[in-house]
Symmetry: C2
Subunit: 285 residues, 2 copies
């Protein structure tokens, strides 16, 4: 992983240079800030070896190599960012903010900055949802797509997922039915613009005694656990890369919370989908 973008095409590398390449590929994102001395230290080689490495790759010197590495980490190029490009930049930044919140560490150290956002309780939510049975999931309107993805993955590792992508009485009925069936939790996706129906459903779920995990873009919705991640709003329509990442992290947490069940279900799924020839030959998901 962490490929160097084919930078080392057909170049023959000496042992020390291979060590540099190894370090680069494993720590690419901090390497772009390192000086040649620092990189040499961490790779365990001498500083001239770093310079020689850069030259061997066809660069004029180490600064040029470092500059060429930058687009591999944050996809900037010299080109003027167009609308689409800056939208993607924004999504990259959204994912970056999400990532730093997951660390628990504040993004900014110095300064007399304001209070950091509360940490995301993904692990806790994953454990709760993994134990929930049945597991209702809903997402209306623009959130239907993400709810569908969540539902698809959740079904692969959970025995009883009930997906709702349409509102109205069907959703409220469905919530009541799952509650009667023993549900304790509900998972909702509520991205802007916030449908009144979604809020109503969250309040109704509370009345039913269901606890609510909500994937959204800002705190403040009626929920017991809020997993918020910023949406990209630079284009005509919102882009949901960061909420999608939160959803993936949540599914991962659910899988972690019930490892044996997850493994058994995935293996079973693998076998039966192979037999039925559902997918083209290739690696499992």
């Amino acid at each position: 992983m962490g490929g160097l973008g084919g930078l080392l095409d057909g170049v023959r590398l000496s042992p020390a240079q291979r060590r540099i390449a190894l370090y680069l590929s494993e720590h690419l994102d901090e390497a772009i800030f390192l000086s040649s001395v620092e990189l040499a230290e961490r790779a365990g080689v001498s500083q001239p070896s770093v310079t020689r490495f850069a030259v061997a790759l066809g660069f004029a010197g180490y600064p040029e190599l470092r500059q060429a590495l930058r687009p591999l980490v944050l996809g900037r190029t010299a080109g003027e960012p167009g609308l689409i490009e800056s939208a993607i930049d924004g999504e990259i930044r959204n994912l970056g903010l999400l990532r730093s919140r997951l660390d628990g560490a504040p993004a900014v150290e110095a300064g007399h900055g304001q209070a950091p956002p509360p940490p995301l309780r993904i692990k806790e939510a994953g454990e709760a949802l993994a134990a929930a049975d049945p597991l209702p999931i809903f997402g209306l309107r623009v959130s239907a797509g993400l709810a569908t993805t969540l539902g698809y993955y959740a079904r692969l590792i959970h025995p009883d997922v009930r997906l709702f992508t349409h509102g109205g009485s069907e959703l409220l009925d469905g919530l009541r039915i799952v509650q009667r069936a023993g549900a304790q939790w509900v998972l909702a996706v509520v991205l802007p613009r916030y449908p009144a129906e979604s809020i109503q459903a969250l309040e109704y779920a509370d009345k039913l005694g269901l606890r609510r995990v909500v994937i959204t873009d800002r705190p403040g919705l009626p929920a017991d656990i809020t997993l918020d991640a910023p949406v990209g709003d630079r284009l005509v329509f919102d882009s949901h890369a960061a909420p999608l990442a939160v959803a993936m992290a949540l599914v991962e947490a659910m899988a972690d919370a019930a490892p044996l069940r997850t493994q058994a279900r995935l293996e079973d799924y693998e076998r039966s989908s192979d037999e039925a020839g559902i997918f083209l030959p290739g690696e499992p998901p």
Copy 2:
């Protein structure tokens, strides 16, 4: 936009320092690589003003400020990256690669690198799909979620979108029906693992004379325009941030290709959803 993460809380800034802050907020992502001299040049102030700016913000010096700025651009912290974190790093990198492909510029300048990937024909696809009527969209299994999102947005700006998220004869029938109704194009989402049904449907669409835009993660599928973006495969399940971004770019291109219709439909939608009270009060999408 491009906020500085509340770094300038209650600090009083002199005119020259405001110019620095302005430049930083607008070019944050390149600023983190600039020396104090370079930043001073671009902000139109003297180099000491940059140092004083950093000190005024509570940092020990300019290097400390620059270091604190880094997490704002790429959300790295000192913390060891866990599984989730490195998955998000991977998605950030995927978006970066996508971004550099959109520029048309190769991500890496020097080196004797291999052939760059072909550019993404998003604009062309957007124009074709905007003119298509009716517009069939399909995505099966794990691709159903992204197809649903695409369908939701496309419907807001296109008069006749037909969404298919289930395979089988229903899909093939549906393709034949839209073809009889005058469709010229079909938009498909085919992410791994590739359902045999999806490939079959693409081949059938070809037989019907439909041209095919496919959002996927690698070239090689039967398609007339392939929009490929890498998926993140570090977790139990694949993550689709980059294909989602491609989808958003495609919708944007469709909107651009028919600006009048887009504006009219969005305004109409805005009015009617307001009247019906569908959404909580807030800004339009």
